[in-house]
């Protein structure tokens, strides 16, 4: 039982309201078309794909913000595919998520202290104040930030609060959905460094969703490439960069701007 996540033949379709006839039901739009993969404990997996490839949908299905319409997701041996919210609640602590836009994913009316502490209280942690302090230390924010509201933080600081909120729960798995795409390059580098360090220190299993292969290359041991809701590649990142097998992967690689236009990946 070394695999934390076992996803097999995962399918997800949503009602296509734009094509809904006046009477009758809307047609289903297939977003994920039978994905199978596993994530071993302690691995950092990158999930890449262009817009509309289904990478965010896959992520949201994995933390069960969406319910799959077919296939199964097993988390640490438990089938969570169709669990209802009540049954999921005790499991929720164990898989956390960091969101793309920290401005909208942090409640603007809650202080940093509450943002990090309230989920802990929901799961019956003790010594919450000390845990909040420790989480802030981990992400490199001063403890005095506890009294601040999200709008009183910079973009990078906000994303650190998002990370602190996730790691304070001591989860086994964290899903990071495009967490650096809204940040400027220097904040990106800082947040990526932090994430790398946390993975090392806390032994996290991480799925890192991005459309940017250069970010994936730096962080992830293995990469899953999604295209139109299907997996086109699932290989160690180094192999992928050395010899991209699928045509779509080559397109993605070529889209990375290089310092020297004549240069190629090696």
């Amino acid at each position: 039982m070394d695999d934390l996540y076992q996803v097999s033949d995962l399918r997800l379709s949503l009602a296509d309201m734009t094509a809904k006839p006046l009477f009758g039901t809307a047609p289903r739009l297939e977003i994920l078309k039978g994905l199978s993969f596993t994530i071993p404990k302690g691995e950092v997996v990158g999930i890449v794909g262009g817009s509309g490839s289904g990478k965010s949908t896959l992520g949201r299905a994995m933390v069960r913000l969406l319910e799959p319409s077919g296939g199964s997701i097993r988390f640490a041996g438990t089938d969570i595919t169709h669990l209802d919210e009540t049954a999921l609640r005790p499991l929720r602590r164990r898989f956390q998520m960091i969101f793309q836009d920290p401005m909208s994913s942090l409640n603007p009316r809650h202080t940093v202290n509450r943002l990090i502490g309230a989920p802990l209280a929901l799961h019956g942690f003790d010594g919450i104040a000390a845990r909040v302090d420790r989480a802030l230390d981990h992400v490199g924010l001063p403890r005095s930030f506890k009294a601040r509201f999200p709008h009183e933080l910079s973009g990078g600081q906000r994303q650190r609060v998002g990370i602190a909120r996730a790691i304070a729960m001591e989860p086994e798995f964290i899903l990071a959905d495009e967490i650096v795409s809204g940040l400027d390059v220097s904040s990106q580098a800082q947040v990526l460094n932090l994430l790398e360090q946390l993975v090392r220190d806390l032994g996290l299993t991480l799925a890192f969703i991005s459309h940017d292969l250069s970010v994936i290359r730096r962080l992830c041991a293995r990469t899953i490439v999604l295209h139109h809701g299907e997996i086109v590649e699932n290989r160690p990142t180094a192999d992928l960069f050395a010899a991209p097998a699928a045509a779509y992967t080559r397109d993605l690689l070529e889209a990375i701007p290089l310092p020297d236009p004549g240069q190629v990946w090696d």
């Binding site: 949201r60 933390v63 913000l65 919210e85 609640r89 929720r92 602590r93 956390q96 998520m97 969101f99 793309q100 836009d101 909208s104 994913s105 942090l106 409640n107 603007p108 009316r109 809650h110 309230a118 989920p119 929901l122 799961h123 924010l141 001063p142 005095s144 930030f145 009294a147 601040r148 509201f149 709008h151 009183e152 933080l153 910079s154 600081q157 909120r165 729960m169």
Partner: protein, 287 residues
């Protein structure tokens, strides 16, 4: 600690605007006067003296000392009547406004966040409710309930809850689509908890703004009902009742009409400006 030194976002504060001060000051004055009416009113508001009828205000020739804003055609002191009228106006504004906000906002929040059949039922109710013409509806309600302060409050609540429900529903829907709601779910918070703890504080500014507007509206509605003699008994002075009486003698004694009218106008204006001021103040992003 260096991080704190280089950015001062934590210390940015915005001054309360002029209109927040002015409107707050005026409303505090009216509320205080209403509270202390029996002690500060210079005369008994019901005392009639036909020899002192239609005395002009103090700065005009022929004014009677002690009657600062003049007297009406029955010789009653206009200032004292305005002061006592503030009691009814303030009671209606506070009680009717608050109850309307509570009921309307709760239903709107449930409809906008829980969606599904809850939304269906509440939205249909709003649609049906809004099909009634409000003035006729209120007159009908008063006719059924009988005139009186309680009836006015009930009429305002029954008619105006849709104002809150509609706006709060739309706001709750917009807030419900934000990622912090998904984030609360990932953190393991239940639906009702999310509605109260996460969405609630974010629709509060909207509710506060609407509440102050509603208080202004409540004052107007009370005045309208008094004006058509459907408010409380004529023994109690009300601004609307004074305006109705003043209208009859506006050519002989303009002050009987103008002073309660100006008071009413300023009070309603103050309520709406307070709402605008609070909106600026409350919104953390605009700050």
């Amino acid at each position: 600690m260096a991080v704190e030194g280089i950015d001062g976002r934590g210390r940015v504060r915005r001054r309360a605007g002029m209109r927040l001060w002015l409107s707050g000051l005026w409303l505090a004055l009216v509320a205080l006067v209403a509270l202390l009416a029996p002690w500060i009113a210079p005369k008994d508001p019901l005392m009639q003296d036909l020899f002192l009828g239609r005395m002009p205000p103090f700065w005009t020739p022929g004014a009677e000392p002690g009657f600062w804003l003049g007297t009406d055609s029955l010789g009653r002191d206009v200032l004292s009547r305005i002061i006592h009228g503030a009691r009814v106006a303030m009671t209606v504004a506070l009680v009717a406004g608050t109850i309307t906000a509570l009921i309307g906002a709760t239903l709107g929040l449930m409809a906008g966040f829980l969606r599904g059949w809850v939304d269906l039922v509440i939205s249909r109710m709003i649609d049906i409710w809004m099909a009634f013409p409000p003035v006729l509806f209120s007159i009908l309600l008063i006719a059924v309930l009988g005139p009186g302060l309680t009836s006015i409050i009930i009429a305002i609540v029954v008619i105006d809850w849709t104002r809150f429900a509609r706006v709060v529903r739309a706001e709750a829907m917009a807030q419900g689509a934000m990622d912090y709601v998904a984030s609360a779910r990932v953190a393991g918070r239940g639906r009702i908890g999310t509605m109260l703890v996460e969405i609630g504080p974010n629709v509060l500014p909207t509710i506060a703004v609407l509440l102050t507007l509603e208080m202004g509206i409540a004052v107007i509605v009370e005045a309208i009902l008094s004006f058509v003699n459907l408010s409380i008994s004529t023994d109690d002075p009300t601004w609307g009742g004074m305006i109705a009486e003043g209208r009859a003698s506006v050519h002989q004694a303009w002050w009987v009409l103008v002073f309660p009218l100006v008071t009413l106008f300023l009070t309603v204006l103050a309520f709406s400006q307070l709402g605008e001021g609070l909106k600026d103040r409350f919104d953390p992003v605009l700050r």
